[in-house]
Subunit: 560 residues, 2 copies
């Protein structure tokens, strides 16, 4: 008995097909891009596809072959957007680097990925010049701009991006949909970042899932202001979804400040904007200062960490903007769940409805399978209120890290332990209640407690160190370091900090360092972080409030 194969076209899922679709059927819909000097440029998906094809041709002429890693060190601009299609479209691997990482990490990552070409924004030239002696695999440096954007006395042998785009005599190739497409490193529990290597299949499947009405629900009527960096978990897939459905896309360039974000919301008619909570904190401060509103904005996606309830309240009540959120990670392409309601939820009293919406991280999206596993090891996915470690599975979930870093990632049934702890309710919604891994989520970026501790104990006189996540008014969480010192040792916070500075990026440094007599231990002799979190999680907020009070008292004293 032979098994029957469906008689359907064996066309592979390809990233290039998305931009071709955008070009053909939404060719005039705009992509707006803000450059370093604040100027806006705009063109349609049809032009973007032509330029992505020219990029592919240019890379081919440079000698780039299938599966070569092409790194981007770039902000949200139309050229980076073109790289999202041109690089994987030709069969090479787009490797998105995070310019905010510490230089040592960037060097490690680029060498680990063996990037052959590094393409970067003009404002990052100094950084790249410093990195370049340490990047033996990089053969070509491409400046994302016209030839004039390069300084005349540059020590790097630069190719201007616009010169690469000379020739459009190129047809998108077809190849196996499991071919690698995008490489994105993510910080894990310990050690250096590890690479998640997407396939064309996983990117296209994720975009199809996330365009649904139960997720982004994008249409041609939406204007997406992409504040979240494109190097951060594929820009939450929006460079792909927008082209797939023909939504207008606004790319705000390098590190847009709150006034720029508010300007773009108004001037470009943004209906959906997304960013980590700190972005929204900044926007609110700008609105307070200027008296402006949020224009036609309809939805604000608050991602990267839990949604602060004051933020969601203000969005709803003051601006009529629906706060939405999702849950995921680079290893999940990145979304596993997304804000959506049900008739049952909407039937609740409004206060309760909002409270439940804001505490959960959305409803689980097909084709992601999610289960919670209680400490006992039982899978409890079917039971309301039964929580535990969250495991995920599906064709948009990673199977391992690049070059096998970190060892086996999945269990025997392909389940991936996310490191988050949560519950799945009857609504199919997930709430994240804790995390297994010892990480601190600062403004949407992970900081490893273990990394901080490992370096801290290198400081002479320090005997033990424990870093925990402390609540922070701006960054949501910041590291707080508790240390014990050897009897009679002459070590202070400044010395510990100096040690940390050598190995860690500035943003990874703890906000405060406290010396304690001893650290609480668990029954098995490990440092009991649970107790530390109970005692110290509000330390930074309390300290800030005390400082404010001090200033206030001082102010009153001055008034007299």
């Amino acid at each position: 008995m032979t098994e029957l194969t469906g008689l359907m076209q064996d066309r592979p899922l390809q990233i290039s097909a998305i931009i071709q679709h955008g070009a053909r059927y939404s060719g005039q819909r705009q992509i707006v891009s803000r450059s370093g000097d604040g100027a806006l440029s705009r063109y349609g998906y049809r032009d973007a596809e032509v330029r992505a094809r020219r990029l592919a041709k240019g890379l081919e002429r440079l000698g780039v072959r299938r599966s070569d890693r092409i790194a981007s060190l770039a902000w949200n601009t139309h050229r980076h957007f073109e790289m999202f299609y041109g690089v994987p479209g030709m069969g090479a691997v787009l490797h998105t680097l995070n310019p905010r990482l510490w230089e040592e990490q960037l060097i490690y990552i680029a060498n680990h990925a063996e990037d052959r070409v590094l393409m970067f924004d003009p404002d990052l030239l100094d950084l790249v010049t410093r990195l370049s002696p340490h990047l033996p695999s990089v053969e070509k440096y491409v400046l994302l701009g016209p030839r004039e954007a390069a300084p005349p006395n540059c020590s790097l042998d630069l190719i201007a991006y616009e010169d690469l785009l000379a020739d459009d005599d190129y047809d998108w190739p077809q190849f196996d949909e499991r071919t690698a497409s995008i490489l994105c490193y993510t910080s894990g529990t310990t050690g250096m970042p590890k690479g998640v290597l997407s396939s064309h299949r996983s990117v296209v499947l994720h975009a199809l899932a996330a365009q649904g009405a139960t997720a982004f629900g994008l249409t041609a009527h939406e204007t997406v202001l992409l504040v979240v960096p494109m190097f951060h978990a594929y820009g939450w897939s929006l460079p792909f979804i927008s082209a797939m459905v023909g939504a207008k896309l606004v790319l705000p360039g390098a590190a847009p400040q709150a006034d720029v974000i508010v300007d773009l919301i108004h001037d470009e008619g943004a209906t959906l904007a997304m960013g980590v909570p700190t972005v929204w904190t900044g926007v609110f401060a700008n609105l307070d200062a200027t008296g402006r509103d949020l224009g036609q904005l309809r939805r604000a996606l608050i991602g990267g960490s839990a949604m602060p309830s004051a933020m969601s309240r203000r969005l709803r009540d003051q601006y009529g903007v629906e706060p939405i959120t999702g849950w995921g990670m680079t290893e999940m392409s990145p979304l596993g769940s997304f804000s959506s309601t049900t008739p049952e939820l909407d039937a609740l009293p409004e206060a309760e409805r909002r409270q439940r919406l804001d505490t959960r991280a959305g409803r689980i999206l097909f084709p992601v399978e999610v289960k919670t596993v209680a400490a006992s090891g039982d899978s409890t996915s079917q039971d309301a209120n039964a929580g535990g470690d969250i495991w995920v599975r599906g064709p948009t979930i990673a199977s391992g890290y690049y070059k096998g870093e970190g060892g086996a990632m999945l269990d025997a049934q392909d389940w991936f332990p996310t490191g988050d702890v949560g519950v799945i309710d009857d609504d199919g919604a997930i709430a994240i209640t804790d995390r297994v891994k010892d990480l601190i989520k600062s403004g949407g970026e992970w900081i490893s407690s273990t990394d901080i501790e490992r370096v801290a104990v290198e400081c002479p006189g320090v005997t033990q160190a424990a870093a925990i996540a402390a609540a922070h008014p701006k960054w949501q969480e910041r590291p707080l370091l508790l240390v014990t010192k050897a009897a009679g040792a002459d070590v202070d916070a400044a010395a510990v900090l100096a040690t940390l500075r050598v190995k860690l990026a500035r943003w990874q440094l703890p906000d405060d360092i406290l010396f304690v007599d001893e650290l609480p231990l668990t029954a098995t002799g490990k440092i009991d972080k649970k107790i530390l979190r109970q005692n110290y999680s509000n330390y930074l907020i309390d300290a800030a409030a005390a400082a404010d009070n001090g200033r206030e008292r001082e102010g009153r004293a001055n008034e007299r």
Copy 2:
């Protein structure tokens, strides 16, 4: 240089995963099913998944193996819904038969498919009893109901569906996503229907695409009244999409009349209902007679043929219901385009906006590629207003018919000629203007002109025959047959009709038969149907109007 494969989970796309998702994350959302006696039953997706699994187990116990064809001859009910998951979920092929076909066609199709099991609704027992002597491959007959639903003196050896569902000790198997899943026959230009054999991959990809906000845009807030039969192009994929997003699904049972449809719209709170234009004509008549409205209905999908403008006007203006449409065919899984607007379209004056919306068949959906090829053979997909034969390509498009019927289906680049003629505009919307194939679309079902002509000339005395589509107030199109007779032959319309009756189903018979002296010929000596259509396409409407006038005159005469 080895090529890099993405490090993503190699989980196959499986139809069973959709119902598992519905069960896990929308377990309480209802499926409402109307049985033959008009009674409604209701349960949740969680129950549906358990029963689909029990069905898979029951079939396994019957000896059904992977790739066996399991036929359904059934209306839209919860048991048919369970078959949509249980049969392909276990790796067998669900073969949806259309109970409205002529018995000779059903016999041909079931034998061609070599169905091993035939599962049918109780009201079709007589039909199945007549068919069964001609179905040598069918080993088991399953009555879709409890044991009591079978009459005591039935000549068939029946298994009751509910008895099959005894055991839920079953886990959904995993297998290659290209495995055949659903077999659905479709009438072509000539000859007997041909089988389209879906894969799991094509069904899941189509459902992911069609759940998007630019297509069905379904969420948990919608209640779908599925009037279109599930045996007709997979019920437009709604049995899959509804479970994927957790929408409430209302299955109205056998051939629901307009009053049943209006009752269900009101009683179940339907927000989306779909049917061919004749369904809506009936609904309007019911609303006129009863003075009712359309309750919470928000969208009415009018499929299967062009949207009559009077119908869309009435839906919008009288009931506040948005008329939507789509374009596709069984070979396309089935959708290629779907109603959605763009800012440019919505900026038009309302009359022009509506006119354009109603004349186009929606915007093209990723991952379907569509191009028009002018008579010259040039691909004109990029040019606004350049029209031609419509060709489609993509992973949801068929590559050939079952057992190779009809020969090669695609050109060398995988393009499939749809047989429709149309244009693609700047909006990415397609308008169907004509068809290449000589077909008549009557109430959503295809009738082959060639089949009618082939049989008609078997009638003694008939020399030539030409069937064309004539406009019809209820069925949109009905066949009109024009014939020439041999000199001195003694043949009349009744004789031709008698000949046709032997070989054609009742609904395939022409509405009128006209004897003409000669049929116009093209330069190459073929019958020139273009001229016939020009002269006769309003014949049935004019004849009906004349008859109405006659009745009206008669009425006035009676009044005197």
